[in-house]
Symmetry: C2
Subunit: 247 residues, 2 copies
DNA sequence: AACCAACATTGATATGGATCAAAAGGCGGA
DNA sequence: TCCGCCTTTTGATCCATATCAATGTTGGTT
């Protein structure tokens, strides 16, 4: 359960998240400054990156893999409040301690920046500050969409919504692969899905079985999901289905 | 149902939200620039400020009153995704159309900035950009706390959570009035509360009655709420009750 | 002063998802 | 290859909240 430092990581220009992460707008000289304060950390699936309340001396970008932000009540009820995919940003500049527990839900590599120098760079580098604002506004929109899911959708709609979200981002990441059939690996266990959606894992399992029986999805093994008809899935999610899911 | 422009509004230095709004960090010269692009609008309780999808030519700060951000599904299910109190910011720089419906839930006054010039000011005025980032991060934290409420709390805990939130901000706004008894007016109808909490209005009513019967709250009329013991209320909300609610 | 419409409460019943329980994969390690 | 653990599925039952339906309350209007 120890962290491993990722080997032979080269400079930022080769970085897979170069154009989507918090550094997306940076010029070469700004990247050079970032490289001075950055380091990589890797985690294996299930490992906790940090506990809510821990002192936090860095902020970070997810380079690869998936991480989750969770909140837990005293009696153990837990709710996922963020799903962090490659290029997403972790941590709040100006905050000393973590507000949420961060867990690797798959193999995870993060690009960490020492917090203090990063905070200084925000003040001196509009390219970073601006991009961070943009990303935070996007996260706020995502959180609000999620609130509708949590507050008003049925279990079946919740599952369909989650699948649609993952399918959509997968379609974006692997747009090149023009295979007709939309398919992806679920990066979450049933339990993680239940924490995401405010359900029990039994209900998640049942609803996935139901969607499979009804032909909305096709399963290959437990984790691989095919979506024969994305519009059907979006309809099941209860979203305004006015097309354009590859926006 | 027509908008009324607030009368005789003076310059920013007298503004009640001067030190908490998006302009909080601005210097006198920056305020002068803002004054050139600002105008006030008033709404009465129940009025819609804008519909999701509307073209939006301004962003704004809530000066007084309460507004709500809501999302609605095709079949009419609606979820509140934001509760806007004085000094809160409405609108997303760079976005042409409103993502959410904004409704005045009480008498409401907003300080509106024409969008295009405001966007330019963000790029040229770090004091605004920085404050906007800070406010957006705060909203994201609030949204995440709310996700735990929506996903994992019981109806009783949800009501207690909402009352605690309102009580807390009321304690902050009127800290001077050192009356022992914590009391406030609910700025929301039962239906608005149900939209906030992902419940039906009947359940809201029942749970409020139950909290009253159990002595957690005391009602004077329908809208005025007394909280004899704030810690008791926070306990009912299921929050980690490690004190310090006047932080 | 009386009425009306909007808001709120309360009651009876239905039901979606939770809970409790068991069995069935699937995968890494000996 | 087999074992044992972890994840997932499926089944039976229960209960919190939704739904359907009246009734009560309040504040504004004529």
């Amino acid at each position: 359960m120890q962290d491993m430092v990722a080997p032979n990581m080269k400079d930022c220009s080769d970085c897979p998240i170069r154009h989507r992460a918090v550094c997306a707008r940076c010029e070469a000289d700004e990247l050079a400054l970032l490289e001075d304060i950055k380091y990589y950390r890797s985690f294996s699936a299930g490992q906790t990156v940090m506990w809510a309340g821990d002192r936090m001396d860095f902020v970070a970008s997810v380079v690869s893999g998936v991480a989750s932000l969770t909140q837990t009540m005293e009696d153990g009820r837990t709710q996922m409040v963020g799903l962090l995919l490659p290029s997403d940003f972790v941590g709040r500049p100006g905050r000393e301690t973590a507000a949420y527990t961060v867990t690797a839900t798959s193999e995870l590599v993060m690009c960490c920046f020492r917090r203090k120098p990063f905070e200084q760079m925000i003040d001196t580098t509009p390219h970073i500050a601006h991009r961070l604002l943009e990303m935070t506004l996007d996260e706020l929109d995502a959180a609000r969409e999620w609130m509708l899911v949590l507050g008003r959708k049925t279990a079946r709609e919740k599952i369909a919504s989650l699948l649609a979200i993952i399918a959509r981002r997968d379609a974006i990441l692997s747009k090149h692969s023009e295979s007709k059939i939309l398919a992806f690996d679920l990066p979450l266990t049933r339990e993680a899905m239940s924490d995401y959606l405010g359900l029990t894992l039994e209900t998640v399992s049942r609803q996935i079985s139901a969607l499979k029986k009804d032909g909305v999805i096709v399963l290959e093994g437990k984790r691989r999901v095919q979506v024969p008809d994305m519009y059907r899935l979006m309809d099941e999610a209860g979203d305004d289905s006015d097309g354009g899911f590859l926006s």
